[in-house]
């Protein structure tokens, strides 16, 4: 027995009390509660929506604490899924072909002049490589309809992962520069890094970037 628009609105407002941040989790719990209330109604419980709602949520979910526990375990499980998928993707790209590519890049690094100009050029390449996965994730993230104050767990977690390389580059530029200046240790300054270090970093950025793009395709369900 279908619920009226007014009853569905009431359930939506009442569920705001749970403070569920992610739309996907909210949708699943909402659908469950509405399905359970519809069955109650079909079996003859004609009491007001607030009474049937409390009956269903207390019985099925164990009230507020039960819902909160489901939300937390969902987030943990999704985080684990993303971590595992990234590990598998990284392993997938760490094949013979890419290892050859890493070796070639490392050899090139030995032949590049150890100068400030080289450091600047390779740093620019690193910054660009760091932004490729972020840009890809933003451009290809699907339209997931979210209610006010909610966000998509899929988009949020995948985008966070795609920012990793940007964080690495920011840390290289800030932390190492700061440490070099603060403690007067010249070799810690990014402009004094040996080109081989940059080439190894660049190889890592490429492999990680490809892994993120694959993750986006998997999670955003883009046909490969």
């Amino acid at each position: 027995m279908n619920l009226s628009e007014r009853e569905l609105d009431w359930i939506n407002k009442r569920m705001d009390w749970y403070g569920i941040k992610y739309q996907e989790i909210y949708n699943e719990i909402f659908d469950h509660i509405v399905s359970a209330i519809e069955l109650e109604r079909a079996e003859g419980d004609k009491r007001t929506i607030d009474i049937v709602f409390d009956k269903v949520t207390d019985r099925d979910f164990g009230g507020y604490l039960g819902v909160d526990k489901i939300v937390k375990t969902y987030q943990q499980a999704y985080r684990r899924k993303i971590r595992k998928a990234m590990f598998v993707n990284f392993k997938y790209y760490l094949n013979g072909q890419t290892m050859l590519f890493v070796v070639v890049f490392t050899i090139i690094g030995f032949y590049l002049p150890h100068s400030k100009a080289t450091s600047i050029v390779v740093l620019i390449a690193l910054v660009l490589a760091a932004y490729v996965p972020v840009t890809y994730a933003y451009i290809n993230s699907p339209e997931i309809k979210t209610d006010d104050g909610k966000q998509s767990i899929v988009k949020s977690y995948v985008k966070t992962r795609s920012f990793f390389l940007v964080l690495v580059i920011i840390n290289i530029l800030n932390v190492f520069s700061f440490s070099a200046n603060e403690w007067h240790i010249a070799f810690l300054s990014p402009k004094n890094f040996h080109p081989v270090i940059y080439m190894l970093l660049f190889s890592f950025f490429i492999i990680y970037g490809l892994s993120i793009i694959k993750l986006c395709k998997q999670e955003f369900k883009i046909a490969e």
Binding site: E24, H32, S35, D60, I70, Y74
Partner: protein, 112 residues
């Protein structure tokens, strides 16, 4: 977890088996199916069901998709290829465990 504490270790097997038989199901449907098959003797609580479903999804045994049903989003679960292989393995483990229990507790096989 559920009304029967002995089910604790078999919840994942139950879910996988139901999805093998029904190809795709949503959360509430799974709880209702278990209730229906066992004539209400086994009730899976949502506090146990959803963490188990999400764990199976995270482990790559289930995949999900959504559909709009009566103007609300419904999330369906179905077995992945890996999940399909896992069902057989889990069912064999469950059968072996039941056989061992029968030996240990001198239970007579259920007569229908």
């Amino acid at each position: 977890m559920s009304s029967n504490p002995m089910l604790k270790g078999t919840l994942q097997t139950i879910i996988l088996k139901l999805l093998e038989d029904n190809s795709q199901m949503y959360g509430y449907e799974i709880t209702q199916k278990v209730k229906e098959v066992t004539a209400g003797d086994i009730v899976i609580t949502e506090g146990a069901l959803y963490p188990a479903l999400h764990k199976l999804e995270a482990d790559g045994l289930l995949e999900t998709f959504t559909e709009i049903v009566e103007s609300r989003v419904r999330k369906y679960y179905r077995l992945t290829e890996q999940g399909g292989r896992e069902v057989t393995e889990k069912l064999n483990e469950a059968r072996a465990f039941i056989d061992q229990l029968q030996l240990l507790l001198n239970l007579k096989p259920a007569v229908k």
